[in-house]
């Protein structure tokens, strides 16, 4: 095999690896701050809408006294609840750091709030994944 072909192949592999790393980096940032994955690509409107919707949903969940689950290895539903909340990234860490999301089992709306919080996390994961697709050129 000519050395030129080998060099080209090595360069292509390096570029592909760099591309993939960039994609996961955008995914991570998009997960950490809702909408940031779009802001990086100057998709201001998309990013703003995602930031507003996900933060708004999370805020409504907190206002309804929903529960932000801490990491646990107990009941399967609580573990899944933590996973959903964790997907909200910075919103989750901020709330835990500030001691919010204690929940209120005596208020019916608390269950609604918990669902809002988990849904916000899952939507954030979806948006971060979409921002990764934008970074990889799979989506305009």
């Amino acid at each position: 095999m000519p050395s030129e072909t080998v060099a080209k192949r090595a360069t292509a592999q390096t570029e592909a690896a760099g591309h993939a790393t960039k994609g996961w980096g955008v995914f991570f940032l998009g997960w950490l701050v809702p909408g940031l994955g779009y802001f990086i690509h100057k998709k201001w409107i998309r990013g703003g809408l995602v930031l507003g919707c996900i933060s708004g949903m999370f805020a409504i969940g907190l206002a309804l006294q929903g529960t932000v689950y801490p990491f646990n290895t107990g009941d399967i539903l609580q573990m899944l609840g933590w996973l959903g909340d964790f997907c909200a990234g910075g919103l989750y860490f901020g709330t835990r750091f500030l001691g919010g999301g204690a929940g209120n089992p005596y208020q019916v709306m608390g269950d609604y709030g918990t669902v809002f919080l988990i849904a916000a996390g899952l939507l954030n994961l979806l948006a971060a994944s979409d921002a990764r697709d934008v970074a990889l050129g799979r989506k305009p």
Partner: protein, 59 residues
């Protein structure tokens, strides 16, 4: 904060539909259309589900 169940549905549907539209469709036209359809399915499905539950157990 306390809101009615229907208000909660409307808020959830509106916010989720916007994110669905942005992430699952590419062109602006498709996004607007998908967002409206998604919103209608969320709200309509809840109303239909509510009536089904009512007929199953009206008390």
């Amino acid at each position: 904060m306390t809101i009615s169940h229907f208000t909660a549905v409307l808020l959830f549907a509106a916010l989720a539909s916007v994110v669905f539209a942005i992430t699952l469709r590419e062109t602006l036209r498709d996004q607007v259309r998908y967002g409206l359809e998604s919103f209608a399915w969320f709200v309509g499905g809840t109303i239909v589900g509510g009536w089904i539950l009512y007929f199953i157990n009206p008390h």
